[in-house]
C-alpha cells in the first residue's frame, strides 16, 4: 500500500497488529513487537512502505516496581522510529521489551544511520546490539565503568582521576 501524502496510520497499525502480532503497550507508547519479528518488520517498512530514514532508537531501563512480583527481572524497553519523506505518515514506531542483558538484533545492515544511535544506547543504557559492526562507547570515555542512564547507576561513582 503506497499512498502519496495520505494518512496511512491505520495501514501501519493493521500491519503491526495482524501481520506482526503487535500487542498494546501496557505503560503507554508504541505497540510492542516480539524480538523475533523485529528485523523483518524494519525490512518490511523500508521496502514496502518506503520508510527509508532511520529516525531514532531510544532505550529506557525499568527496574521492578513495588507492585511487581518479587525477583522480577529488570526490563529494558527499546523504542524504534522510522521516517518517510513524501509518502504516507511521517513516522512509524514500535517497541521491543527485553530483559536487561539480552541482545537485540542490530539494524545497521538495513539502515546505515542506525550506527551511532545504537552505539549511544549501548554507551548510556547498556543495550547489546547483536550484529553491530563497531559497538564501542560513543559519548563517554573509553574506560568508563557502567551505564549511567540505568536506574541503578550510582551518581557519586568516582571517575578517577578527574572526578
Amino acid at each position: 500500500m503506497k499512498l502519496r501524502g495520505a494518512d496511512n496510520t491505520e495501514a501501519i497499525q493493521t500491519l503491526l497488529e495482524q501481520r506482526f502480532e503487535a500487542t498494546a503497550n501496557p505503560i503507554g507508547g508504541p505497540p510492542v513487537i516480539g524480538l523475533g519479528r523485529h528485523t523483518e518488520l524494519a525490512a518490511t517498512l523500508r521496502d514496502e512502505y518506503e520508510y527509508r530514514i532511520f529516525g531514532f532508537v531510544v532505550a529506557a531501563h525499568y527496574p521492578p516496581g513495588p507492585k511487581d512480583p518479587p525477583e522480577s527481572p529488570d526490563v529494558i524497553r527499546v523504542s524504534y522510529g522510522l521516517r518517510s519523506v513524501g509518502r504516507g505518515t511521517n513516522l512509524a514506531t514500535w517497541q521491543l521489551c527485553v530483559n536487561a542483558g539480552d541482545a537485540i538484533p542490530s539494524l545497521v545492515p538495513l539502515f546505515a544511520g542506525a550506527d551511532w544511535q545504537e552505539r549511544e544506547q549501548y554507551d548510556l543504557v547498556g543495550v547489546r546490539f547483536e550484529g553491530h559492526p563497531d559497538l564501542r562507547r560513543l559519548m563517554l570515555s573509553e574506560d568508563w565503568n557502567g551505564h549511567p542512564l540505568r536506574k541503578d547507576y550510582a551518581i557519586d561513582t568516582k571517575v578517577h582521576p578527574w572526578r
Binding site: 563517554l140 551518581i155 578527574w162 572526578r163
Partner: protein, 238 residues
C-alpha cells in the same frame, strides 16, 4: 603608500617636546621590563571553547570588543600560545585532552577559566560526566565568573592577567585569585584544586598519566613530567 613626515598632522605637546630635545627619544629600561612588556602585550590565546561561553569568547575576539588591540590574538595551536582560555563545560572525556594540550604549551603560560562551568562545573557539577572545575587539573590564573560572562568581562579578565604578569615581574607580592565559592546546595564532588594542601601527589601522577595515555608518549616525555609534578608538590609541602 609611504607617509611624508612633513604632512604628518599628529601633534602632542609631550611628543613634540621629546622630538625637540636631543636624546629624549631614546628610552632606557631593564631587559626584564622589556621582556615583561613583550609577554603581557602579546598574549596569544589558545581557545578551548566547548560550549556557550565559546560564543561570547568569539564576540570578544571579534571587532566590537576586539581583544586584538591588547595583542591577544587567537591561535589554533597550543605550541604558539601563551594563554589557554577554557570557555565551557569540561567533561571527563575532554579533561585528559585539555590537560594534554596544556602540557604542550611552552612556558611561560597562563590559564583563564571563563564561565561558571569552567570554574566549578556549576549546575552541571552533579552530573556523572562533568569535571568540577578546571582548576582540579590545571593551575588557573584568572577566573571570569558569569553564565556566560559578557565579552567585556572576558576582556577585563585579560587585563587582570596583564596586571598579574606585570606585578610578578616587578617582584611584588600578589595574592593569587581565589576560586569563586560555589552555591550552597551543591554537594558533589570535592576534588582538591591545584594548590590545595590536601591535594596529594598521586592525583597529579594519575592525571598526567591519563592525559599521556592518549598517545604520543615520546613527545610528552612522561617520566620527566612525573618527576616535575613530584618536585613541584615537594616544594609546596616545604
Amino acid at each position: 603608500m609611504a607617509v611624508d613626515e612633513r604632512e604628518r598632522t599628529y601633534h602632542h605637546p609631550v611628543y613634540d617636546f621629546m622630538m625637540k630635545v636631543p636624546g629624549l627619544d631614546v628610552v632606557t629600561t631593564t631587559v626584564d621590563k622589556l621582556l615583561t612588556f613583550g609577554s603581557e602585550a602579546s598574549l596569544w590565546i589558545f581557545p578551548v571553547a566547548t560550549s556557550c561561553c565559546g560564543i561570547e569568547f568569539m564576540a570578544m575576539a571579534a571587532s566590537r570588543v576586539d581583544a586584538d588591540r591588547m595583542g591577544a590574538i587567537v591561535r589554533g595551536s597550543p605550541r604558539h600560545s601563551d594563554v589557554m582560555i577554557v570557555a565551557g563545560t569540561i567533561t571527563v572525556k575532554m579533561a585528559p585532552r585539555v590537560k594534554k594540550l596544556w602540557d604542550q604549551m611552552p612556558e611561560p603560560k597562563w590559564a583563564i577559566a571563563v564561565g561558571s562551568c569552567a570554574i566549578s562545573g556549576d549546575f552541571y557539577r552533579d552530573i556523572y560526566s562533568v569535571v568540577p572545575g578546571i582548576d582540579t587539573f590545571i593551575p588557573v590564573d584568572v577566573y571570569v565568573p558569569g553564565c556566560p560572562p559578557n565579552p567585556e568581562a572576558m576582556m577585563h579578565g585579560l587585563l587582570r592577567l596583564q596586571e598579574k604578569i606585570r606585578a610578578s615581574a616587578s617582584g611584588k607580592q600578589t595574592e593569587a585569585e581565589k576560586r569563586p565559592e560555589p552555591i550552597k546546595h551543591q554537594r558533589l564532588p570535592r576534588l582538591p584544586i591545584i594548590g590545595d594542601p590536601s591535594r596529594g601527589t598521586e592525583l597529579d601522577r594519575q592525571q598526567i598519566a591519563s592525559a599521556a595515555s592518549l598517545g604520543w608518549w615520546d613527545e610528552l616525555n612522561l617520566e620527566q613530567a612525573l618527576e616535575d609534578a613530584a618536585s613541584d608538590s615537594d616544594e609546596q609541602d616545604t
